[in-house]
């Protein structure tokens, strides 16, 4: 579904991605783990068009994403839940969700999806009219995921959804991620919480300083000696 081939991305003179290749197949949850500064966020931002890569190819459902602006990539069916949630702080929960559906032209479907988001996250339903900036961290993460779902994506990019959240909330969020996937959305999940991520995903990639250094099924990565040492605390 998504094929990334030899992607190089620069921030000015800094080469943040040094030729990354990776594939996500229809229906999968694929996780990308790696230490701080490895380039995980940069890769997701490159996929969704927020930064232009300098080399390489990104194809999604056979279409070239390389030179598309972000709004076209969203319209093509790729939604991105950015690192740090990035909800619109001064807008209400409902307005944030409506913005997630900005590119859609089917009001009935949008209303249906809003109900679905409220079923997935009942906490959001109780806070419809509350300004997003006043939500707790966990609620903001739920809103960020719900907002992305409002685009009715076929591929969902998630950047560290567990960041800064209590274990119960993380548990809850990962449960929802599995439900979203079970309902047919393919997921590329970036995580620091390698244990949770590998327990949830089908396959995984390990990234170090701008390169993919390892890829395997999630089960085997969980048992891998090097991965255990570096990312699972021994």
């Amino acid at each position: 579904m998504l094929v990334i081939d030899g992607v190089v991305t620069h921030y000015g003179p800094i080469e943040a991605l040094k030729g990354v290749s990776l594939e996500v197949r229809q229906g999968e949850i694929v996780t990308l783990i790696g230490a701080n500064g490895a380039g995980k966020t940069t890769l997701l931002r490159t996929i969704s068009g927020l930064i232009r890569p300098t080399h390489g190819r990104i194809t999604y459902e056979g279409r070239d994403l390389f030179s598309m602006p972000p709004e076209q990539i969203v319209a093509a069916g790729v939604a991105h839940v950015p690192e740090g949630r990035r909800v619109f702080p001064l807008m209400s929960v409902a307005e944030n969700l409506e913005l997630g559906a900005f590119a859609r032209r089917d009001p009935a479907g949008v209303r249906e999806d809003m109900e679905r988001v409220f079923r997935l996250f009942p906490r959001l339903a109780e806070r419809k009219t509350q300004a997003a900036g006043t939500l707790s961290g966990g609620e903001q993460q739920m809103l960020a995921i719900g907002r992305a779902l409002m685009a009715r994506p076929r591929l969902l990019l998630l950047d560290e959804p567990s960041m800064g959240l209590a274990p119960v909330i993380v548990e809850n969020i990962f449960q929802v991620i599995r439900e979203i996937n079970a309902a047919g959305t393919t997921i590329l999940l970036v995580e620091q919480n390698a244990h949770m991520a590998l327990a949830t995903a089908h396959r995984g990639y390990v990234m170090e300083t701008g390169r993919i250094v390892l890829s395997d099924s999630a089960d085997r990565l969980l048992k891998n000696e090097a991965v255990r040492k570096a990312y699972l605390g021994g």
């Binding site: 927020l50 972000p70 969203v74 950015p82 990035r86 619109f88 702080p89 913005l99 900005f102 685009a151």
Partner: protein
Amino acid sequence: MGRAAPLSFVCAVAHLAGAYFSSRNRLRGQGGGGRLIWQQLINGLVTGSTYALIALGYTMVYGVLQLINFAHGEIYMAGAFAGLLLVTAAELPFLAALVLAMVIAACVGVVVEFVAYRPLRRSSRLAVLISAIGMSIFLQNLGLWIFGPSTRSFLPPFPVVSFEIGGLRTNTLHLLTLAVALAMMVGLQFLVARTKMGKAMRAVAQDREAAALMGISVNRTIAFTFAIGSALAAAAGVMVGMLFNAVTPTMGIMPGLKGFVAAVLGGIGHIPGAMLGGLVLGMIEVLGVALLSSQWRDAIAFAILILVLLYRPSGLLGKPAPEKV
């Protein structure tokens, strides 16, 4: 200063001014100073409403781009010329001329954004500021080249009738100016709060990248913001052109600065703040002129700018918090 501060501030100034007038008039044995002050406040309200229209453009553009569009005064000037020519040369009815002048100015605003600001989207703020000043000077000189330096008369294409309400003199042109400004503000409020484009504007202002991830075209939203702000400035330009019966290529300089002061006074980036800032500035100005002399008119605006920047940089309505979360 709290929420009620602007009102109480105006009241205090009005009170002082009222006292001054009464004492002066008592010496002359006339009385009726209170009425004079109210008369001045009406004039201030009319001027202030045009400042408010100009301030809205500054504040909306600042909201989406964190940029002070110093060419905004020239767009106001372009709008005034467009209105004048449409009324005199094209002999359009006033409302049609006003709307068309707004459309023309909106196009000028979009072109300015495209030429002077879009190529610098990723450059330093200093580069953008220099580009803005360059664009302002360019448009002034373009105006001088096309229209010449002389002042053109802009007589309202409708009869201006003076009358009194409750002992206060006003006329149909003043009332029309207030009505136009009010209609624009209500319309803008609706646009920003309710329409899809308004939501896109707010989203881009709050988080440009997150807005892009929603499928919002950031470039189109910014262009649209320039269009709306420029149209409002044109409406102000047309009204002021008639109020002073004068249109010149340099007419945008002072109102441009006043609009900027009004936007800062209200809280830059804050739409109701720009409306309030314009009205408050207009009223302080006339009161200041009444108390001191008309030579002080422009100095008052800049004194306000300096005071606001020193003591309350977030303005009357802006939250005294960091720019972004």
